[in-house]
Symmetry: D2
Subunit: 138 residues, 4 copies
């Protein structure tokens, strides 16, 4: 059996209902690397009127999922940490950039950066995915 | 000036647009402790048809925000980590329970558990909030 | 080939030069669970005269290694986080208790607690080990 | 009262008994940045003959402490996470490089890299320190 290529994998990944509900758009999906953007609205805010930490994390995590599954086999996040470095400020969108940085057996380590419109760092995340050998279609 | 009490703080916290958008309902908000529930639908799923890690995190994080701000003064999350222990399985909702476990100066440490309908552990999170002295309204 | 039992595994684990150098004594090693104690001296202190964070972590990590390798096959830590909840205070030793809390494929999740002599919580850690199928002797 | 300068702070930091016991040498301490080196021996190994995760963490953490206290006021680590990316391999020493990346109130975020002799990445760490206003001496 042949693994699906990154383009076919990307077609699957782009049909993510949770990401769509949050207005997350996948800009780039290549092997071990993905970039996504979330256009911000009232529905991303917390009760203080600031962008919710869960929204910032969800953007990073959806992009992590794209990078981790880009190889065409199913992978699952087992751990993610997020450090909130600065408030997003006055920005129309947030953008996440995620790269695979290492492999340890079936484990893959990923670094994630979330930046605002001017390009300032808003949050950094680090995560581990567990790579199965099952194809995405499953 | 008087700090607002936990009931007044809870009224603010319950008006969270991001939480509302994800179907998160705050069940209990008391000093340093909160419980929330998220009823699951298609919009919480990822492209594999499983509950998205970002949705699980967002439930925990919204509950963390409720527990951390229950004292009536503004606090901000600086760090959260999540460990995904088991898939949610066949469940109508997920429930998060968050407790403050320690204070270190203006820092507060919180432990979070996310469980499915039968009560099985789905994820654990640990986070730090930075407690300012500004009132929630301010 | 037969896997070694927990008693044989424990004999290996107890010959740890790094743990011995820090005065760490393995009190209990059973399947997926270990308890260790570190008697404190000047060599565990930082330049402020407090117990060094690295010493507290090392006690937890050595105990994590004991719990994760107790099955007789080699495992490697891929991620550990530590939250320092309170200074150890006036105590002769620190004690760590580590339990496996979940398995996800070859990944194992472990919770760790470090307490002082009176039993107060000093730090909590969470980690993931990657379980290989190679025997410890390997 | 005047804060001590970075040179005076560095003199304090270099007298760290735990770091000395592990053979850690502070190479550079400047404002918000430090580099340290640990020459490896039998006492850094675990029962498998590999460099102990606690030794790798301790090098990073001691360097973190140097960077976080370089301003002359006491700071305490509240959280550190470590991701083990690759075994150190055949190397005489490990070197850690730690930089402050952000401030949030009294919280400071630090990124840490540990590399082997050829310069390959062995581990990355991320931590938060709580900065008090008390001078190092006090």
């Amino acid at each position: 059996m042949q693994h699906m290529g990154v383009d076919e994998a990307a077609r699957f990944i782009r049909k993510d209902p949770f990401a769509a509900n949050l207005g997350i758009e996948f800009i780039l999906i290549e092997k071990g690397h993905a970039i996504s953007r979330m256009t911000l609205g009232e529905e991303h805010k917390n009760f203080m009127g600031m962008i919710h930490g869960g929204a910032i994390f969800s953007l990073a995590d959806a992009t992590f999922g794209a990078a981790a599954n880009s190889g065409g086999t199913r992978s699952m996040a087992i751990h993610v940490s997020i450090d909130y470095l600065a408030p997003p400020g006055d920005t129309n969108y947030l953008q996440a950039d995620v790269r695979e940085t290492a492999r340890a057996g079936r484990g893959g380590h990923y670094q994630m950066e979330v930046r605002n419109d001017p390009g300032d760092l808003v949050a950094v995340c680090h995560g581990w995915a567990y790579h199965t050998s099952r194809p995405l279609k499953g």
